[in-house]
């Protein structure tokens, strides 16, 4: 069992316990976390699962891909640690992962 924490833009915290290996987007939508839409089902096509990884986890999670970069850099809320959650593979080893959500999904 591992924990992921999602912090909404207004500060609301959603702590999710999971034992799934999957994408961060799937974990969020499977636990009905508001603010992560994942409309395209994980194709990196919609840009509605934008998250900002906290500094302490950025190294573990890794950088965004070229395609993510092209999607995200058009968002006014894009930050250095912005990722598309559907492209972030989460394992149970990433216990304690924490990400913030932007105010709006594109």
């Amino acid at each position: 069992m591992a924990t992921v924490t999602f912090v909404e833009h207004d500060g609301t915290v959603h702590q999710v316990d999971h034992d799934e290996d999957g994408s961060l987007m799937e974990i969020a939508t499977n636990h009905a976390v508001p603010g992560i839409e994942g409309d395209c089902g994980g194709e990196a096509a919609c840009g509605t699962c934008h998250v900002i990884v906290t500094d302490e986890w950025a190294g573990t999670v890794g950088p965004r891909t070229g395609r993510e970069q092209q999607m995200l850099e058009m968002s006014p809320e894009c930050e250095a640690n912005s990722r598309l959650a559907c492209q972030v593979a989460v394992s149970s080893a990433m216990d304690g992962l924490k990400v913030r959500l932007p105010e709006f999904q594109m």
């Binding site: 799934e20 999607m71 006014p76 809320e77």
Partner: protein, 429 residues
């Protein structure tokens, strides 16, 4: 809490939402209803023996055998347990808005307080001699694909009837599997209904490069074969050999049970800007629903996942007493080979196109559709940057300098209106 709010809250605790249909809109409704605070019962009734699954991969990874159905579930089985959502596999035969009941195929009736019709659409059938032959398939749900997959080991020559997105995606998947493919299209170009000629040219070139035979502007008179299909007879008398035929000629919305119950139908089930139908406490969302699009100034019935999701969110809000208009910009996507197409907006009514890239070469292209100088839509192949730009540009009603737009050295962000009064949100980048 006011007395009105108290009674609404009480209703949300003790009432029952029944969702008919179990596709993308339904899965979103389950999540959005709980996020909006619906604490009452949620009953989801689908006619397939499985949880709601992603349909777009059916013509791609699922057809190729690269993904199993349980990998395509929109939300995992756990989700429905945790959110206390009851699922039933049954066919709904009729509904009675006055009695607030639905009747199932085997005669059982079920009461509802709120009813959501997510009935989807079904493939338009080919009505021709021989359409019932073995080896002839339509494409909509997982069972259709499983039937195609069962025919694949013996398939050498496939014919796809219809050069729309479904037809072309299927053609790409079959080529990837090494099957010879001919696409038959009645119009004089592929994607004729939905894209500019320049985009059709791009896709025709790529499919030909991938070895697909395209026959455009052709009519079909019959499917031929002895028990199993062996060829497609064209209007000019030609016979195209085929041991597998896949028909992708559009869909028909499932509106019949609504229509018979007196719920207003105009192509789709008529909904207002928040997803309510003409009948009290009955809502609709997705491929079966017709809504008024403000940008287009007319009723539309869209067939896409994002549309189903957006309408479901509005319906969930409306059921919980909150007005959330269906307002998101329509968008679509299509994957063929290594080409990832993202479409922003609706191009209907465009006056000119501006290209970024060359349809005659390469594997990427952006095609912007302009009306009165403003960008109203864009088809972006392997150009996610242009797609995201277009979403913002359309929202801003941007009238860009066309030379700058077409110039590949232009940073598109510099064309966007960044003033706080026009931007949808503060720019913190």
């Amino acid at each position: 809490m006011s007395p009105g709010e108290r009674s609404a809250a009480a209703a949300m605790n003790s009432s029952r939402v029944v969702i008919v249909g179990a596709g993308h809109a339904s899965a979103q409704l389950c999540a959005s209803l709980r996020q909006e605070g619906w604490a009452g019962e949620i009953l989801l009734i689908g006619d397939e023996p499985c949880l709601p699954y992603q349909r777009p991969p059916l013509s791609k990874t699922f057809l190729a055998g690269e993904s199993a159905l349980d990998e395509l579930l929109i939300r995992k089985p756990d989700f429905y347990d945790k959110q206390a959502i009851t699922l039933r596999c049954a066919r709904v035969r009729s509904l009675d808005p006055e009695a607030r009941e639905i009747r199932l195929g085997h005669g059982e009736t079920l009461a509802y307080d709120k009813l959501v019709l997510c009935l989807g659409a079904r493939p338009r059938r080919l009505v021709l001699p021989g359409a019932e032959l073995a080896g002839v398939h339509h494409l909509r749900d997982a069972a259709d694909i499983e039937a195609i997959r069962a025919d694949l080991p013996a398939a050498r020559r496939a014919v796809i009837v219809g050069g729309g997105y479904i037809g072309l995606e299927t053609a790409a998947s079959l080529r990837n599997l090494g099957v010879a493919v001919t696409v038959l299209e009645a119009a004089d170009r592929v994607l004729q209904r939905v894209t500019a000629p320049e985009v059709s040219t791009f896709y025709e070139r790529v499919h030909r490069e991938e070895g697909v035979e395209l026959r455009l502007g052709v009519g079909i008179t019959a499917l031929e074969g002895d028990g199993r299909v062996s060829g497609v007879r064209l209007a000019d008398g030609d016979l195209v050999a085929a041991d597998l035929v896949i028909v992708g000629i559009g869909v028909v919305p499932n509106v019949e049970i609504a229509d018979r119950a007196g719920v207003s139908v105009e192509d789709g089930i008529v909904i207002d800007s928040c997803g309510r139908t003409s009948a009290p406490d009955i809502y609709a969302a997705g491929d079966c629903a017709s809504y008024f699009d403000r940008r287009q100034g007319r009723r539309l019935r869209l067939e896409s996942v994002p549309n189903a999701v957006e309408q479901a969110k509005s319906v969930a809000a409306a059921i919980c007493g909150r007005e959330k208009e269906i307002a998101a910009l329509p968008w679509f996507w299509s994957d063929q080979y290594d080409l990832k197409l993202q479409i922003a907006g609706l191009s209907t009514g465009y006056e000119e196109v501006v290209l970024r890239g060359d349809p005659a070469t390469g594997r990427d292209l952006a095609c912007f559709y302009l009306a009165r100088g403003r960008i109203i839509a864009a088809d972006c192949v392997n150009r996610p940057h242009e797609f995201m730009f277009s979403k913002r540009a359309i929202a801003q009603e941007l009238a860009p300098d066309k030379e700058l737009l077409t110039d590949l050295t232009t940073d598109l962000r510099s064309l966007l209106d960044r003033s706080p009064s026009r931007a949808p949100r503060a720019d913190r980048s």
